[in-house]
């Protein structure tokens, strides 16, 4: 591994131990993210993408825990790292942006308080310097008149502004990695576009690695460099963004792309993937997608290995549809 790799996740397994059984939310996930690279982590609800994000930053709460695999951050394996070490990394070298900005900012504390404390938690500077940094961060994300706005409370901002504040907070200590968990899902489309564009610009400028977790393929298409598609806790397809979107190989990815309505499918019946995702409490040993796949056969009952049917592409499938086009 060269030292341009910021994050390397190897066979991550995060399970939830409830009284209804063991839910294998993340069941053998691997990927790497390089410096300045943007990776889209795509999947439907329950696919394990958010849990993956939380596992990386070490915020998986009981009854969940990481039971296997490695997370190499700048070469250091942080699985099982002591809380003290993780707290030093969080908000500092690894930052996270959550989905709903209304709930992620503390409603009774002012914006400047919440930003300044982030700086002071990791660096021994005086309050004025921290305030200055916060002001700069807000300007960076495009919030005008930062000095005045900082003294406000979260509910006095609009949804888009609040999310920008969250992004500003993430950037405060110039992290090496940002994990964004569906940050634009709660916003309307125009704001979404702006934020996507600005985030991409910032990451390029600062060399920050970014994992963008979403269920929306359209978002990822214009933003990411590479994509990992997750299904039922496992990564089923991975590769460069254009390659995967133009020539998907895993039946699930094909189904996903096929079900996106586009202007050249107008008038046609909306495509759906038949059936439902399996319960995480009882994942099959073989391919989790088998029940819904039209290419399935008896080989799919075996545990699926990761193969490379096309250069630069990783797929977990014994029937990769290499000839199929979009």
């Amino acid at each position: 591994m060269t030292d341009t790799v910021t994050l390397s996740v190897e066979n991550l397994e995060t399970h939830f131990f409830t009284k209804d059984g063991v839910a294998k939310a993340v069941d053998g996930v691997s990927f790497t993210v390089d410096k300045g690279e943007i990776m889209g982590l795509v999947g439907e609800s329950g696919s394990g993408k958010s849990v993956t994000g939380f596992s990386i930053i070490g915020l998986v709460d009981p009854p969940g825990e990481i039971v296997g695999g490695k997370i190499l951050f700048n070469g250091e394996d942080i699985v099982g790292a002591p809380e003290k070490r993780m707290r030093k990394l969080r908000g500092n070298r690894i930052a996270m942006i959550f989905q709903d900005p209304m709930m992620t900012l503390n409603p009774v504390l002012r914006i400047d308080t919440q930003m300044i404390e982030t700086v002071l938690a990791h660096e021994d500077v005086d309050k004025e310097t921290a305030r200055q940094r916060s002001r700069d961060a807000l300007a960076q994300v495009g919030i005008p008149a930062a000095e005045e706005r900082m003294k406000a409370y979260p509910h006095q901002f609009s949804g888009g502004m609040r999310q920008r504040v969250s992004i500003a907070i993430a950037l405060l200590n110039k992290p090496d990695l940002i994990i964004a968990d569906e940050p634009t899902t709660a916003l309307d489309v125009t704001i979404q576009g702006q934020i996507l564009y600005e985030t991409q610009k910032l990451c390029r400028e600062t060399g920050t690695a970014l994992i963008w977790i979403t269920h929306d393929l359209a978002v990822v298409a214009g933003l990411a460099d590479k994509i990992s598609v997750m299904y039922a806790g496992r990564v089923v397809e991975q590769g460069g963004i254009d390659d995967v979107l133009d020539h998907p190989v895993h039946p699930y990815t094909i189904g996903l792309l096929g079900s996106v309505p586009g202007h050249n499918t107008r008038g046609q019946k909306l495509h759906q993937i038949q059936g439902m995702a399996p319960s995480l409490y009882s994942l099959p040993r073989g391919c989790a997608f088998k029940a819904r796949c039209r290419f399935a056969d008896v080989f799919c009952d075996q545990p699926q290995e990761i193969s490379e049917p096309v250069p630069g592409r990783a797929v977990r499938c014994c029937h990769p549809q290499v000839e199929a086009t979009e």
């Binding site: 969080r90 959550f98 409603p107 009774v108 504390l109 409370y153």
Partner: protein, 325 residues
Amino acid sequence: MSVFIIRRLMQSILVVWIMSLIVFVGVNIVGDPVDMLINPEADQAEIERFIRDLGLDRPLHEQYWYFVLNALKGDLGNSFIFNQPALKLIIQRIPATFELALAALLMAVTIGIPLGVYAGLNPDYRISKTIMATSILGFSLPTFWVGLMMIMVFAVMLGWLPSFGRGETEMLFGIEFSFLTRDGLAHLLLPALNLSLFKMSLVIRLTRAGTREVVHQDYIKFARAKGISQNRIIFVHLMKNIMIPVVTVLGLEFGGLIAFSVVTETVFSWPGMGKLIIDALHNLDRPVIVAYLMIIVIIFVFINLVVDVLYSILDPRVRLQELKG
């Protein structure tokens, strides 16, 4: 904002007035103080003179009218028993009651909040479960009985603390306070603890519920994702969120403490307003009964008003609502 205050003020005055009516009419219909106070041997002339002196011969609405007039002048009549202005009697005893109530409030808060937060952060520990079980006892136990048992155990059997009365006092700002002397503190401890138990249990349960709710919120998780220290998360992020409901409840409960001191003062013979009213009720000392009830209603209405205003100041979201509406 000022419209809000004026509206509440008008409402408060209305309440006080209605209360005065209820109290005055009710008290003057029950029982016959003449029988209570006059020497049974007295002859008719003496009885008549007595009745005239106290104004008991006039029709009820006239009595009420004079009552209101006098009240606005600050004269609420003289006590039948002590033959002193009722108002003066009550005011003399206010410091004692307030001291007791404040001490109880302080205990409830300083003990209750930490216990509640602890139980909320660690709900599965055995200690937390014990705390919660004890809190159920706390508000189920009838205060007066607990007071009796306290006296039994600490004063009679163990002899550690005195069993009744208020201790020595010292002047502060022209008022006598007993917490400034050692003897005073010794006398204050048991009654204050007794009075605080009920509120303490409430505080524990409230803070625990608040903590459990807040701890699972996204903003706490976000604060952790920023790498903020555990201490700061608890004492700043968590506290400020649970404080708002707790403070509101406490503000209202302070009035409750003053009212409930009636019981504790009786059990511990604490010379406050509460003991005065109970004695007055037994002796049918009407002016004192009326005066006490009026004063306490006024205190209450005032406290509610203050809490309402404070609440709107504390919670920035409410403040914005008021400005808009």
